[in-house]
Symmetry: C2
Subunit: 368 residues, 2 copies
């Protein structure tokens, strides 16, 4: 645990910006000569848009993807007069074309409804760029394959053609290769325009996915440790919460809401000031018949007992003996437990855990 | 759907403050002559501490429960010079006694570690009050039953004795009655001091739980509709999100991450700009074998198809025909679907959904 933890009084997250910079450099080098952009939507996956974006900019990143216009305006305000390129993945919000233009934000347009509205509201004298999103098999945003040859693109400044993969992390799936081929086969019209299809997993799936630009997100923040990949990416995140009470529970007593966990012997529990309102999934609860999540104290596992409350969760510290007290901190994510393990125990994905940490969890940024 | 929805461009929550005021009045009347306090921890269950606390204050509430010192300071700053009473449920943060005193915040102390620290740092000339938390069977915060008779309370200004119930909503459980009896049997020492044990569910469990004060939370915000209770409490919450693209999917195509849903006939989907980063549980995903959550459009159900993404989710709108377009809003919580149904489909509880809605979800307050 970090030394600063003892000075803290509430749950906090360490965000190691040096790790993010390290990861950006590693990925950039790996994908050369492709451009390495960065996906910073949802407040940079919950890590803090301003600090993360500035770190990435200082690491050489010039291309940034956010979800919508409002995130893009926020990012543009962070960058100031810098000419970084900002893409809004969710496309063109109705009646807001002028906002994209005035803030120099590139909408990623993926439907005729958007393209028609854009064309109707753009002054041809204005220098403004758009990206086009092609749906090659994800069935989410983007033009259908059979629409592409008919798109009215004359007079438009198209900066980028993008598509997104559905199963990039699955070595058994051939969908990513099919999607890549579809993209390449349908972009003959778009000579000289950059193309991108690779998220984090696709970057390490094969060089053919790199195209002109890659758009890593999770690998910048949590590292990426699949076999056969560059294995030096680092997790930038640690998460700790304080113990607010230690108590001894007699055999037979039930613990927490629903009385869903019963101590079958005398145990000692610690009450940790971290609950689902902070972002700890309620699904990490345990019963006598089903284990839930666990935290770590001095590198020793401490299982969650009973349900997760709004602001508090109980952990079993019987094995820790007397070396634990009110004011100590437990590790939720750190050297003993990565976010993927926590997510797996909760029946969810690391991305959901990250993006749903609440504002009560203070962020402490580390720069070295 | 509310008329204002069409003016919006992003997901938003309506918080009907008039309903919260209505609920407060109803509960206050029901529990008379007990005091009706309000639990406003976790940013008033995600509804916005400032707006909710002021509404409750204007409705006659004078006693407020938050989780910790920092929430309490925030609430004190909202109230200004008003002499409302603010309790911090999570007890005394280490080395911070002077902060509780200077901000007139009542720590709910539940361990000897806290009480000893408090006594060591309090100047007897200072008028400051504390509450004591007794653990009557919840096995969470609070003094054990066998500690109570020995507590060194001389010289302390004890404002309130509290306990909390584990199974108040379960008519089959007799734990609440046991907990109540334990509290009453162990408080002989504390003559003339207010006692409280009732959360929302306990208020409607029986008059014997009302004691001197009740502490409703969820029933103020979401109503309370158990059989046999006062059934006029209202939900104060509606939640809507915009459609950003409509598309037709051919039979055989897979939808979304993991390609985990396959269209077995030609269908039409709408892509809704609302994902797990906004607070939509990832567990609302569906496969061909397991249904997930659903939204409503013009009072018609529209099931989620495939996985929930970070910023987007797909719904099946085949049955809606052509009367749906980009820019329309779908109901996530409203007159067709209450938060309990949404939570049930996600395998969680309404409280988790409420408290984990992200800051991207704009709050719009209704006053009538």
């Amino acid at each position: 645990m970090n030394d600063n933890a003892q000075n803290m009084l509430s749950a906090f997250m360490h965000v190691n910006l040096a790790s993010i910079s390290h990861n950006y450099h590693k990925i950039s080098k790996f994908v050369e000569p492709s451009i390495c952009a960065a996906t910073v939507k949802a407040d940079a996956y919950g890590l803090g848009l301003e600090e993360v974006a500035i770190t990435l900019q200082n690491s050489g990143c010039k291309y940034f993807f956010v979800s919508d216009l409002y995130e893009a305006i926020r990012l543009r305000n962070i960058f100031g007069s810098n000419d970084n390129v900002v893409y809004a993945l969710n496309g063109l919000k109705p009646s807001m074309t002028s906002e994209y233009i005035s803030h120099k934000i590139i909408p990623v347009i993926g439907s005729s409804a958007e393209l028609d509205e854009y064309r109707a509201n753009i002054d041809e004298c204005v220098e403004h760029r758009i990206a086009l999103h092609f749906d090659t098999g994800f069935s989410r945003l983007g033009f259908e394959m059979d629409e592409i040859s008919k798109l009215p693109i004359n007079g438009l400044n198209i900066d980028l053609i993008m598509s997104h993969l559905s199963t990039a992390e699955d070595p058994q799936s051939n969908l990513p290769e099919n999607q890549l081929n579809k993209l390449l086969n349908t972009t003959n019209r778009f000579v000289g325009i950059k193309k991108t299809i690779a998220n984090s997993a696709a970057i390490f799936r094969g060089k053919s996915f790199l195209l002109d630009m890659v758009r890593p997100g999770i690998s910048l923040y949590c590292g990426y440790n699949e076999k056969g990949t560059i294995n030096r990416l680092e997790s930038a995140i640690e998460l700790y919460a304080p113990i607010i009470q230690i108590k001894d529970i007699k055999a037979g007593s039930t613990i927490g809401y629903g009385a869903s966990y019963r101590a079958i012997k005398d145990i000692r529990i610690a009450l940790v000031e971290f609950g689902y309102a902070d972002g700890l999934p309620w699904s990490l609860k345990s019963t006598n018949h089903q284990s839930g999540g666990q935290f770590y104290f001095n590198n020793a596992p401490t299982p969650i007992v009973g349900r997760v409350s709004m602001d508090i969760v109980a952990i079993d510290v019987t094995e820790i003996k007397n070396d634990i007290k009110r004011g100590d901190f437990v590790e939720i994510i750190g050297s003993n437990q990565n976010i993927d393990t926590l997510a797996k125990n909760a029946g969810t994905i690391s991305y959901e855990i990250l993006t749903r940490l609440n504002s009560r969890v203070k962020k402490h940024y580390k720069y070295v």
